[in-house]
């Protein structure tokens, strides 16, 4: 398989086959990540499509500071989180708290809470939880030391845990 640097080179020369190859290479992984965050595969497909469109529009200025996949992954995750935030805002606007104690789907609460994590914690956590990547692979993808990845994943988990407790979820 052609490496990312060569692919980028072809992309910047507007080689349409390179665009197709890029989409073939990463669509499934991105769609899976977006699907797990959103819990909705149709929306996930839309998010991935938007991600590629956004990338193709700006491919000429891509400097390759991070790998293509990491770059696309970041855009996808952020777009998915934006959708969750938007849903959350609409819910807050239209509904009052329903009851003093109620059964809640933790996965929905956790997905919403993901939006409150800083980008540098959210990305390694999602890579570990959703892509099931090892710390070593995440470190390679994000160009970080393994210990930094471990610490960021832990901080992300702790923050999510505290958010759940603050929201009154009994675990």
């Amino acid at each position: 398989m052609e490496n990312d640097a060569l692919l980028i080179n072809r992309l910047q020369k507007n080689d349409h086959n390179a665009f197709r190859e890029l989409a073939d290479r990463y669509t499934e992984r991105l769609r899976m990540a977006a699907g797990k965050i959103l819990g909705d595969h149709t929306q996930a497909a839309d998010v991935v499509q938007e991600t590629f469109l956004a990338f193709f529009r700006t491919a000429g200025s891509f400097r390759g500071q991070s790998g293509i996949f990491t770059y696309l992954y970041r855009i996808t995750v952020n777009k998915a989180i934006d959708i969750i935030r938007k849903k959350n805002r609409e819910k807050k606007f239209y509904f009052l708290p329903q009851a003093r104690e109620e059964h809640t789907d933790v996965s929905i609460v956790v997905r919403e809470a993901l939006g409150r994590l800083p980008d540098n914690q959210r990305l390694p956590l999602i890579m570990a939880e959703i892509d099931r990547l090892s710390y070593e692979k995440i470190a390679a993808e994000l160009a970080l030391p393994v210990n930094t990845v471990r610490t960021r994943i832990f901080r992300a988990r702790k923050k999510l845990y505290n958010i759940l407790l603050q929201m009154g979820v009994t675990l």
């Binding site: 797990k36 819990g39 009052l96 708290p97 009851a99 003093r100 104690e101 109620e102 059964h103 809640t104 789907d105 933790v106 996965s107 609460v109 956790v110 997905r111 993901l114 956590l125 999602i126 570990a128 939880e129 959703i130 090892s134 710390y135 471990r150 610490t151 994943i153 832990f154 988990r157 702790k158 999510l160 845990y161 505290n162 759940l164 407790l165 929201m167 009154g168 979820v169 009994t170 675990l171």
Partner: protein
Amino acid sequence: MKNCGYEEMLSAYIDHELNQQESDFIRQHLEVCSGCRKTLKGFTVISRALGGENITAVAKISRRFTLLYILPLLGAAALIVFMLKTPAGKIENFMEKAGNNNNEITYYLKGGYITDNSISAWLALKSINDADKNAQNEKLDIPVFKTLDYIGTSSIFPVAIF
């Protein structure tokens, strides 16, 4: 969350990122530490939820959270009720007179027919003050807090909440 200093190891433990020796240590520690067991349970639930499992838990909406939403709405509702009770003519009439004579204000606030609608009276006076505070204060020669003395505190309550 009780902090033993092993929380980061717990996080790595559920990702299977500890070596055999570290894993054994954590397992032994979990047998004696309820705080770490609770943390591990929390991390595991988060992990399962992110993995797409549907996990149901009981969520208690805290009193503070409820009051935060409910109190301003109650205040706003009370204010609307008070305002709807007051015919517009009375406020205009009052404002016209209030602009002219300090004694008239005292009359309307203290013992006049507007007593039942004292909140409207207060709002009318406030709007005059807001429009041209310095000039009106000189003209009326009464500070706002003095005016409030004429109005029952129960009438002020919804405004204070709002």
